[in-house]
Subunit: 392 residues, 2 copies
DNA sequence: ATACTTTGTTTAATGAATAAACTAAATAGG
DNA sequence: CCTATTTAGTTTATTCATTAAACAAAGTAT
């Protein structure tokens, strides 16, 4: 059983000090002591250790505030690096970040046939390349994080992923065996939620829901600053909330699922029915966006409708979680200009007044990087072993 | 800021020891040491303190297992008492429990006009009476917990409650001023969830959703063993999930809310339309249950439909939370025999196979007491100040 | 009767946080 | 320019947790 002892106390306080330096650095020992309530002596001891650990450096003297000049400390973001991978349906985006989540290298490849061989080969070569490009550092590449579409079990086994030929593949095991670097796989909505929580729009939100609207809709749930994954790791399938009880059958087995009305697939399906696109063989989001920019009435009306359906689902999420913040991510986010108003008017209409203005709704601030950055953040947090991110 | 120090360590370990005695008592010091990993010395120290605190007693010698006989310890459930109150729409049920949640006294009164005066007077007299009846004990009555229908803010202010004339009343403040006993008010779904989690069917579930199906539908969310209340304390309004996007307007502002189809109100409304009840002026649940028992076809068909609608909402909950356990409580629970099968067949139909048999679905095991017992458990936990229950 | 086991306490050691005293180095004000 | 004051950071001694080891108490097994 997890009991309390002195090492626990030290761990807690060391985390607090490191966190403080990360968030507020450059900062002096004295300031940390004032801000945290920890004794000056304790702070000094922790800082010494962190400097030995190469996680913190001294910057030099800062401004005096009427007495001896403080020694400023900063988080050594170059103590190690992490790889974050966005495993998309037709692309793989891989980033190398420093320990602050700053992107230092970036590579991507398109996927053509989604076969296991193609994907694995692309992953291997991307990872190998980023490892080679990673600057010399005390800890090297500290982890590989992957955000994948589909259902991933807590051991890193991909239980089910539509479109990709990776069902029942234990990606974590395979990559750890090959690269000997701690690896984490999770659903892209979960990694996206983490990314936004740690580095994006959700920095100050302890309870946030990240809504990944792509081909389907998935949600990443951050509760009390921690990722919630449920009993068997498959929570957050809110794309499959029924919003039409006798609606169309969904591939998940349910009927009238939200994502049938509000996702990228829904958008493309409905666009196909428009007069304007009747001669277009395969419609893309680019087509739709360019028409929307041109002011194509039918496309605007369609986006309005899709926005409204997004709003209906968001009302459900708010009624369930009463979150501090809602973040819309993935590919639907590019239509922000056209869907945000209908979403907001649906919220106004349908939300009980007790929610008032409490909910903060926004579009992903990390854009196409939220998934890859979240995956990277995940492994960084694991490396730093501070309680910034825990999976419930 | 909350930092680590020795008192924290002690608090953690003392909690562990007390919890162990609560759960496994009678138990010896040696056994606690083995089970928890705490050193024998530490356990002895904590036990001495707990005995001084009157929270633990020595029972006498136990069975030898090949050496010196152990001294068995047990949790002194009579060290104090707690009052738990189920504030219903047309009744108030108040229980006095010992520290183990065992009911030692019970009183209830019907409500006739739901006026603030009637309710406050009834509450006062119930509380006063239970305090008088509480046996002599080291700590006396350690808290008053109240589960109320409606929306309660974190400070105990009732923001909104349908049917009761208590809107904007700060019940907590009023009762604390009068009785000088720590008081907690929460939504009845939250207290119900706590009751089932601590003393009922959900004892072993760390992630559970308690679905209170009464006049409306509310949900109490326990995540990682802790009650989740959301950013402003109004999470869990899953009765207002839209299941028909263009459905009837609900009083909450939304459309096609789940509770319009699956609650007690829905049952009564639909029952009114049945040929059999056309001459009954005011139909009650008793009427319906007695007809169901007699095998009235129309009533059975109606209950089947209501069950199916309950199933639809439960699928939504499972897709969202992937919980260890789902517990159906409040008045709809009495129809278990007629609604459980339709619910289960809807789950079979609509749930993705990845949920398999992972979800444990059951009806409240505390029956009409789950709300009152949860309210009592809430204040007991606060009193014991062990981390058994924390509100996120 | 003797060896062994199990329970629980006493004793001494370890390691964490911290208050107080101290050193170092600045500013401020005459 | 000099002294008092302020601020930063370290050294020292104390307090208070857990714990390992030795020990005492009280049983069982043979």
């Amino acid at each position: 059983m997890k009991t309390g002892d002195l090492t626990l106390v030290k761990q807690i306080n060391k985390s607090i000090v490191l966190n403080e330096i990360e968030k507020k650095g450059p900062i002096s020992r004295a300031q940390i002591s004032k801000d945290t309530g920890l004794n000056k002596t304790t702070v000094s001891t922790m800082v010494s250790e962190l400097i030995e650990d190469k996680l913190v450096n001294e910057l030099g003297q800062g401004q005096s505030s009427g007495g001896r000049k403080p020694v400023m400390l900063y988080f050594n973001t170059h103590a190690g690096y992490a790889i974050g991978i966005d495993l998309g349906v037709n692309y793989i985006l891989a980033v190398l970040t420093d320990l602050s989540g700053e992107i230092v290298e970036e590579e991507s490849v398109p996927l053509s046939d989604q076969s296991a061989e193609e994907i694995m080969q692309a992953l291997r070569s991307l990872i190998r390349s980023l490892i080679e490009k990673s600057p010399d550092s005390p800890y090297g590449v500290v982890g590989i994080g992957i955000g994948a579409p589909g259902i991933v079990d807590p051991e890193g086994l991909i239980l089910f992923t539509p479109y990709l030929d990776l069902n029942q593949v234990n990606l974590k095991q395979i990559l750890e065996d090959e690269f000997n670097i701690p690896t984490l796989i999770d659903n892209e909505a979960n990694t996206g939620a983490l990314g936004e929580h740690l580095y994006g729009a959700g920095k100050n939100a302890m309870n946030l829901i990240y809504v990944s609207v792509g081909i389907g809709i998935g949600t990443g749930i951050i509760i009390n600053g921690q990722l919630y994954k449920g009993a068997t790791g498959i929570s957050g399938e809110m794309g499959h909330l029924t919003i039409e009880v006798n609606g169309r059958k969904c591939s998940c087995g349910n009927r009238g699922c939200w994502e049938l009305y509000a996702s990228e697939s829904a958008l493309l399906t409905e666009a196909k029915k428009l007069e304007y696109f009747k001669d277009t063989s395969s419609i893309t989001l680019d087509h739709i966006e360019s028409e929307a920019k041109k002011g194509n009435k039918d496309v605007l009306r369609l986006l309005h409708t899709i926005g409204e359906y997004n709003g209906v689902g968001l009302v459900n999420i708010i009624n369930t979680f009463n979150p501090d913040m809602l973040i819309i991510g993935n590919r639907m986010a590019r239509f922000e200009n056209w869907i945000m108003n209908p979403i907001k008017s649906v919220l106004d209409d349908r939300l009980s007044p007790f929610h008032g203005n409490a909910v903060n709704l926004t579009v992903s601030s990390l854009g196409k990087y939220s998934n890859a950055l979240g995956a990277s953040a995940f492994v960084i947090s694991k490396f730093l072993d501070i309680n910034r991110v825990k999976v419930i």
